[in-house]
């Protein structure tokens, strides 16, 4: 992946409560050539989003402690920061009739790194 030097590196916010999996997701984002930010839950993610208007993509888990899950976080982002693209992942199958916000893709866990990276590139383009 080549990114023109005069353009800023796209910023991707990784939201995942399990530290090892967060570390892995951060690595995937770095391998794709982007700058990762980390949050351990939805509340933290929203706080970061409020202070960093330059975030382009959010890569979030669904099941997280603290009331707000990844689906609700995605809905909130779609509402408050419409331009941000979203990648959702989960170890659970999506509940039937789940309404995914627009501009959102889903990967079941464990996901293939190459697929996620391809998706990141598409969203950052």
């Amino acid at each position: 992946m080549t990114i023109a030097s005069h353009e800023p590196v796209p910023i991707v916010l990784v939201v995942e409560d399990e530290p090892l999996l967060r570390l892995f997701a951060v690595q995937v984002v770095e391998d794709a050539g982007y700058e990762p930010l980390e949050a351990a839950n939805a509340a933290e993610a929203i706080a970061i989003l409020e202070s960093r208007p330059d975030i382009r993509i959010v890569f979030t888990d669904i099941d997280m402690p603290g009331g707000l899950d990844g689906i609700k976080l995605a809905a909130c982002i779609r509402d408050r920061w419409p331009p941000i693209k979203i990648i959702i992942t989960s170890g659970k199958p999506l509940p039937p009739r789940t309404v995914m916000p627009a501009e959102t893709v889903f990967f079941p866990k464990p996901y293939r790194q190459d697929r996620v990276i391809a998706s990141l590139h598409q969203m950052a383009a």
Binding site: L20, L21, G91, K92, P108
Partner: protein, 525 residues
């Protein structure tokens, strides 16, 4: 004199016989005919003694079907259960003022034998009446024959009842079987309860049958499923027991609440308006118990007063028990589903962790292909688990498993899947998905899927109790037999059940694989 308790027993017995106000029946008509001929009297009657009247089940020589009980000669000394003979009714103080004697009917001579049921209750008499006095009474033979005919009537009444009861039992039994079947076939509680309500409503001939959940204090019932006869309103919704009378005590104790007439029952007589507003004249509320507590009730309403027989109550008890068992089964299945989902979720997280650890550990490895293969195999295994989870880890269908793998790898538009439905046990499903994954990976690297226009046929068939899976690649590049056996081809050679049965052929027009395993083995593995 009539003893009150014996009169009550008689009334109860007659109610159970369900004979009052029924049409003529040949068996009884024959008996009164024989009685009148035997005793040479113009009149012969089968008189049943109700509370306030005597009603004639069969009669010869009389044009009325009933008279006031005060005019009944049959009721005199009836509880002594012996023959009563009055030679001249005008001369007997008990009958001299009876309008049937003094009036135009002019009864003079009377002889009657008691009708004694097997239960010992006397329900009436078979009698012969003459309009002329008979100082000589009946002959010995006439008396013997009249007694015998009396026993015939009693037997007929008992038999008639027994036939009715057994026909009714059969009906209730059949209904219970139907309810059980419909409960077994349902996978939703509301479906179970409404099916049961409909059958109960029909077989009991009532106006409403419903099922309602009860709060822990048994104060409120939330009626869910509701069956009603045409023209009867639903009572679906919330009701407070105390608004309808003193109904709670029985239900709290787990006893069925049985009311034959809301107007006379002490529990409801104070407030009949609430019941009548819902067209309820009689009712049964059968508690559904769980761990010694009433959690729901099965409700049956009749718009008029009605006798609930012991068999009907037993039937309702059985229906309530079956509903309880059915709902408990659903709940257990739901819990199992939740548990399976949780286990799968943890398994997925664990696989993700393995992936994360491997990825970090192998970061410095310069050859990336094996690292990527590892990740792909892990993801294929995970997809196979999803298929098994949907079937609660029992067994999965071969096509579903194959489709899941194909969707994980991609290329579904260049794959043809065809074959019958074949159940795979959990282990076979996992092995099969890994094998298909390897075959696809190879096809992507060296075979039909690595060039435009190539395609793969994955077909399967049952032959002589063996499952044969055929992998056929067509339109690929020239086929080269590999020089070295890697982990991938070893995995393929393990086959469908991990015990071989695999044949690989590097044919000039495309790679082919045949995988064979016994159907029995597959379903058990």
């Amino acid at each position: 004199m009539l003893s009150q308790s014996q009169a009550a027993r008689r009334a109860g017995a007659l109610k159970e016989l369900a004979v009052l106000d029924t049409p003529e029946e040949q068996a009884f008509d024959d008996i009164v005919f024989i009685a009148s001929r035997t005793c040479d009297t113009p009149i012969a009657l089968i008189s049943l003694l109700d509370d306030d009247r005597q009603w004639f089940k069969a009669r010869v020589g009389l044009d009325v079907r009933q008279t006031d009980i005060a005019q009944s000669v049959c009721q005199i000394d009836v509880d002594e259960a012996d023959m009563l003979v009055i030679a001249d009714l005008t001369r007997d103080p008990r009958t001299a003022a009876n309008p049937l004697v003094t009036g135009e009917r002019a009864f003079r001579f009377y002889a009657g034998v008691p009708l004694v049921l097997r239960s010992g209750v006397v329900v009436g008499r078979l009698c012969v009446i003459d309009t002329k006095p008979r100082p000589e009474g009946l002959t010995q033979e006439q008396m013997t024959l009249l007694r015998a005919l009396g026993r015939q009537v009693s037997d007929q009444l008992d038999l008639r009842r027994a036939a009715q009861v057994s026909a009714r039992l059969l009906e209730l039994q059949t209904a219970l079987i139907e309810i059980s079947e419909r409960i077994r076939a349902s996978d939703e509680a509301v479906e179970m309860t409404s099916a049961a309500a409909a059958v109960v409503g029909r077989v009991l001939g009532v106006q409403r049958a419903s099922f309602g959940l009860v709060d822990p204090e048994v104060e409120i019932v939330d009626v869910e499923a509701d069956w009603t006869a045409p023209g009867i309103a639903s009572i679906a919704g919330r009701h407070r027991f105390d608004d309808y009378g003193a109904l709670r005590a029985d239900l709290v104790a787990g006893e069925p609440l049985v009311i034959e007439d809301v107007a006379t029952d002490r529990r409801t007589s104070a407030n009949t308006a609430a019941m009548y507003a819902l067209d309820i004249g009689a009712l049964v509320n059968m508690p559904v118990r769980e761990r010694g507590r009433t959690v729901a009730i099965f409700i049956v309403n009749a718009s008029r007063p009605r006798l609930w027989t012991a068999d009907e109550l037993l039937f309702l008890r059985s229906v309530a028990d079956r509903l309880e068992a059915g709902v408990a089964r659903l709940r257990a299945e739901q819990q199992q589903g939740v548990l399976n989902g949780e286990i799968n979720h943890r398994l997925k997280n664990m696989l993700s962790m393995v992936q994360a650890i491997a990825s970090q550990t192998l970061r410095t490895v310069s050859e990336r292909a094996p690292v990527e293969s590892f990740e792909r195999r892990l993801v294929a295994l995970s997809a196979a688990h999803d298929v098994l989870l949907q079937k609660s880890w029992k067994d999965a269908d071969l096509r579903t498993v194959a489709k899941a793998v194909v969707e994980t790898v991609g290329f579904s538009e260049r794959m043809t899947l065809d074959g019958p439905s074949v159940p795979l046990g959990a282990r076979a499903a996992l092995s099969f998905s890994l094998v298909v994954h390897e075959l696809m990976t190879n096809a992507c690297k060296y075979g039909a899927l690595c060039v435009e226009g190539g395609h793969v046929e994955l077909t399967w068939a049952i032959e002589d109790n063996d499952l044969i899976v055929r992998w056929r690649e067509r339109g690929g590049p020239p086929v080269v037999s590999p020089s070295r056996k890697g982990f991938g081809s070893r995995l393929i050679r393990l086959g469908l059940t991990g015990t071989g049965g695999t044949e690989l052929r590097y044919e000039p027009n495309g790679f082919e694989a045949d995988l064979r395993a016994s159907v029995e083995h597959l379903a058990q593995a």
